[in-house]
């Protein structure tokens, strides 16, 4: 007894056009660039906190990045170069992320409408990720500009001077929570997106927000330390 003939199944076999790998690549690069930036941020904030140990510790960190312990003398342009690389990474990340944002008024309105109606935490979080991402364009630009153009002014007293006398504390006080929110939301999304590590969102959330909160405290403390140092210097 012969049963059903095969109607359906030619399609998959015949469709063998060369594969467009780009979408996969872009998706992976977006996540990897994000991950790299998050890791950088983590390091950055930790090292900033050296000021909490003392001005000399902060100076030592600064000199270390200028290659002092490698070459015997400090080469601030190393920092400039690193900052340039970082900038490139940020641009790549941002450009890739732009693909996900609303592209037109119609899309924007649709999303805003959706956001209000659905009343859904993770959807709201994504919106905040977008908003902070936008803000970071403006906040990171001056920060990086200084690093690239005046790498030699990184160090306990020069930085403290900038924070207080040049009023950079305003910038840093805004930048810090914004970048942490963005990084936390991004990390959270990355874990959820790729399903690794295998954690439910309920279990994941405390981790992400706990770590972000700790960094925020740490960063603020460092900022306060620089402010105190800066105030002392101006006196």
């Amino acid at each position: 007894m012969k049963g059903s003939d095969q109607l359906a199944d030619v399609a998959a076999a015949t469709r063998r056009a060369p594969r467009d790998r780009l979408p996969a690549l872009l998706d992976v690069v977006q996540s990897i660039s994000g991950l790299a930036l998050v890791m950088f941020l983590g390091m950055h904030l930790l090292l900033d906190a050296a000021i909490l140990i003392g001005p000399s510790a902060a100076d030592a960190v600064a000199r270390a990045f200028e290659g002092q312990y490698l070459f015997g003398t400090a080469h601030p342009w190393i920092v400039s170069l690193a900052a340039l690389a970082l900038l490139t990474l940020i641009v790549v990340h941002a450009v890739l992320a732009l693909r996900k944002l609303p592209h037109s008024t119609r899309e924007y309105v649709a999303f805003r409408h959706h956001l209000r109606g659905i009343n859904h935490g993770d959807t709201r979080l994504w919106w905040w990720q977008v908003v902070t991402g936008m803000a970071l364009f403006f906040l990171i630009a001056p920060h990086l500009y200084i690093v690239i153009t005046q790498p030699e002014t990184i160090g306990a007293s020069a930085s403290a001077h900038r924070v207080v006398a040049e009023r950079a504390w305003v910038l840093y006080a805004i930048l810090l929570p914004v970048v942490l929110l963005h990084a936390a939301a991004g990390t959270y999304r990355m874990v959820v997106k790729w399903g690794w590590p295998k954690l439910s969102r309920v279990r994941l959330r405390p981790w992400v927000w706990g770590i972000a909160g700790a960094y925020c405290v740490l960063g603020l403390a460092a900022l306060v330390a620089y402010t105190i140092l800066g105030l002392r210097l101006t006196e």
Binding site: M1, K2, G3, S4, D5, L7, A8, D9
Partner: protein, 659 residues
């Protein structure tokens, strides 16, 4: 008004319709499916428990065969079924399950080794064979000698229709959703398609086809409390009836399912009892063994439903403000089983009752469930009176269920009939003499007639309220044409329904839009449903015996001498208020299984004069062929294979054949 031509017009996108369309398409014919709703939302979706096919993979199904399935089905139907059709069915059912397995249905599978099951309230360990590991599993269902019901957890219908509808997409079969057939186009005893209303735009279109296949499902909404979907209104049967030519068979045979949740009527599957669930009364007492010591909770549905109502009538029902009910207890199955194999049941209890079936009992009461009757067809699925009209599934009376269908035999019928009837539709379309030759003038007449009927509702001065008429009809059907029937009640029911029918000719609608208009839909459907309700009530009144689901308190015995025959209803004249009933005798002398006791339920019945003779003949034949195999015996008793399409003939392999 448009005309669309096609080879095959399939009215209905449930399991039966989809499978017929696929069969026709594979035979090279163009097919269009019409459906009120997206095909996958047809009520086939709601089938939970499973599909019967004698695969015999599980240990409790060992020894199962077409023969056992045949006997169970004939007994279940109380000898009302066409035994040749039952044979065609049982032989094709395993093939249907296996085809669906290849099409992607994730049938639950056998796991080798020990497992604990609940049988008759006791924990029992059974051991599945190594050879069966990974094959399609079966569960126990009412009225079966073997575990035969193949299942996908408790979403069997869902998984089946998903796979079949996807195959229909693969075969590029168009489904015209939100379209309703309002009338069959026919001329001189030949059906040519249907007049169809677009439910969104209100437009009428004539679909003209070589073959027209009805697969419109059941008619549960004739009743107030039903497990059926809101679209199961019997319009397919009604438009066949309105041809005046096609007949409806056994419309009085209506099944009530023991376990509709109370009071909403939503079904919890028979699988609950098949897997070991118990029925309890107000005192928590398990009462079914008192009535049915052999099959207990797993007697056939008609019997269990009646016993439940009987028990409630004795004052043993649990009281609630909506009335009395009984309890279904599945707590003994354990959380794991309920969460994995009875997921839908769990969800339904959770969402609709706020009950956790792992810990609490479920309030249940019998509810209308299945329409055994339908458009009368021969074994090929074609109407004997209206050439070119085919029917399959619940809408048809192919007649494999007789007066009561077994759980799991219905979705099996839809697919099996879809396969078989689909082939015969292919044959029909292959024959050049069946080309379409109807004058367009005739088609236009039909279109205009239907347009006029709609306009009368929309712009006429009718004053009757369709909703009120429908509710009255549902009340009458539930109260007087229900599980227990009495001559006096039935007479009243017929009278009252006739009055409602007359009044329904004067329905008016408040909302007069010609396009999407739910009120208009209720109006024209109610008119048709009343005719259908009358075929049920009038047929029930005429049948002065009890058989299967049709139970007459004033005639409690099955009466083969007078009633071993099928009721055929037709509606000769539009102005009539009653159907015309005729009868088609069943021939005892050709039965493989002559009438006898079902093995449960009442034991006494009035014999048919030919029964004794046929019994002797059967005995003699069996004795003579004692050394032959079961196939030879069967062939000698009632040859049927010639009735099947060639590609669906042949035996079914089982693991026991391998060893």
């Amino acid at each position: 008004m448009r005309i669309i031509y096609t080879d095959v017009l399939v009215i209905g996108g449930g399991l039966a319709g989809l499978r017929m369309a696929i069969a026709a398409r594979r035979r090279g014919h163009e097919a269009i499916i019409l459906s009120l709703v997206p095909a996958k939302r047809s009520h086939s979706k709601a089938a939970q428990g499973g599909m019967q096919a004698s695969l015999g993979n599980v240990i409790k199904g060992q020894g199962d065969s077409e023969d056992v399935h045949f006997e169970d089905t004939v007994r279940g139907g109380d000898w009302g079924a066409d035994q040749e059709v039952v044979r065609m069915f049982v032989n094709t059912a395993p093939k249907a399950v296996r085809e669906l397995a290849a099409w992607g249905v994730p049938w639950s599978r056998v796991r080798k080794g020990d497992r604990e099951v609940i049988i008759n309230g006791q924990k029992v360990t059974i051991t599945e064979r190594d050879a069966a590991h990974g094959l399609v599993a079966q569960r126990d269902f009412g009225g079966t000698k073997k575990w035969r019901t193949c299942y996908v957890a408790d979403g069997t219908g869902h998984a089946m229709i998903t796979a079949i509808a996807d195959q229909a997409i693969a075969a590029s079969i168009p489904v015209h959703e939100h379209n309703e057939a309002l009338a069959l186009i026919h001329d001189s005893g030949r059906c040519y398609g249907a007049v169809v209303r677009d439910l969104v735009s209100g437009e009428l279109t004539a679909y003209v086809a070589k073959a027209t296949a009805l697969a419109t499902g059941g008619a549960g909404r004739l009743y107030r409390v039903t497990t059926n979907a809101v679209i199961c209104e019997g319009i397919g049967q009604a438009i066949a009836l309105e041809t005046g030519v096609a007949t409806l068979g056994n419309m009085e045979a209506v099944q009530f399912h023991p376990t509709g949740i109370f009071p909403a009527g939503i079904l919890v599957t028979e699988g609950c009892r098949g897997d070991g669930g118990l029925l309890r009364d107000a005192d928590g007492h398990r009462f079914m063994p008192d009535y049915e010591p052999e099959k207990r909770e797993l007697a056939s549905r008609d019997v269990v439903s009646r016993r439940m109502e009987e028990h409630i009538a004795r004052g043993k029902g649990a009281k609630s403000r909506f009335g009395d009910h009984l309890w279904l207890d599945i707590t003994l199955l354990g959380e794991h089983h309920i969460r994995h194999n009875l997921r839908e049941v769990y969800e339904i209890c959770h969402y609709f009752l706020g009950v956790d079936p792992v810990k609490e009992w479920i309030p249940v009461r019998a509810a209308q469930h299945y329409t055994m009757g339908g458009v009368r067809t021969g074994p090929t699925g074609e109407s004997p009176n209206l050439k070119g009209l085919f029917a399959a599934g619940e809408a048809a009376c192919w007649d494999m269920h007789g007066f009561n269908r077994l759980g799991g035999n219905s979705v099996a019928e839809t697919v099996v009939a879809g396969m078989i009837v689909g082939e015969f539709i292919g044959d029909f379309c292959d024959r050049p003499e069946n080309d379409i030759n109807i004058p367009t003038a005739v088609v236009h007449d039909y279109l205009e007639r239907e347009q006029a009927r709609l306009s009368a509702l929309l712009t006429g001065r009718g004053t009757e309220d369709a909703v009120a008429l429908r509710v009255a009809m549902q009340e009458i059907m539930t109260a007087k044409v229900g599980i227990f029937r009495r001559g006096k009640d039935l007479e009243q029911a017929v009278d009252e329904l006739q009055q409602l029918l007359v009044r329904s000719r004067d329905i008016g609608v408040r909302y007069r839009a010609a396009g999407a208009n739910p009120e208009l839909v209720t109006a024209y459907r109610t008119q048709r449903m009343l005719k259908l309700a009358l075929t049920v009530a009038y047929g029930a009144l005429a049948r002065s015996e009890s058989r299967g689901a049709h139970y007459r308190e004033d005639f409690p015995r099955r009466n083969d001498a007078e009633w071993l025959k099928r009721t055929l209803a037709s509606w000769s004249n539009e102005s009539d208020t009653l159907p015309t009933l005729t009868y088609e005798a069943l021939d005892v002398r050709r039965m493989e299984l002559p009438p006898g006791w079902r093995g449960y339920g009442a034991r006494d019945h009035i014999h048919h004069p030919d029964t004794a003779t046929r019994e002797k003949e059967v005995e003699a034949l069996k004795a003579k062929l004692a050394s032959s195999d079961r196939f030879a015996v069967q062939q000698a008793l009632m040859p049927y294979e010639q009735l099947l399409p060639p590609r669906l003939r042949g035996r079914n392999e089982r693991i026991d054949d391998r060893s």
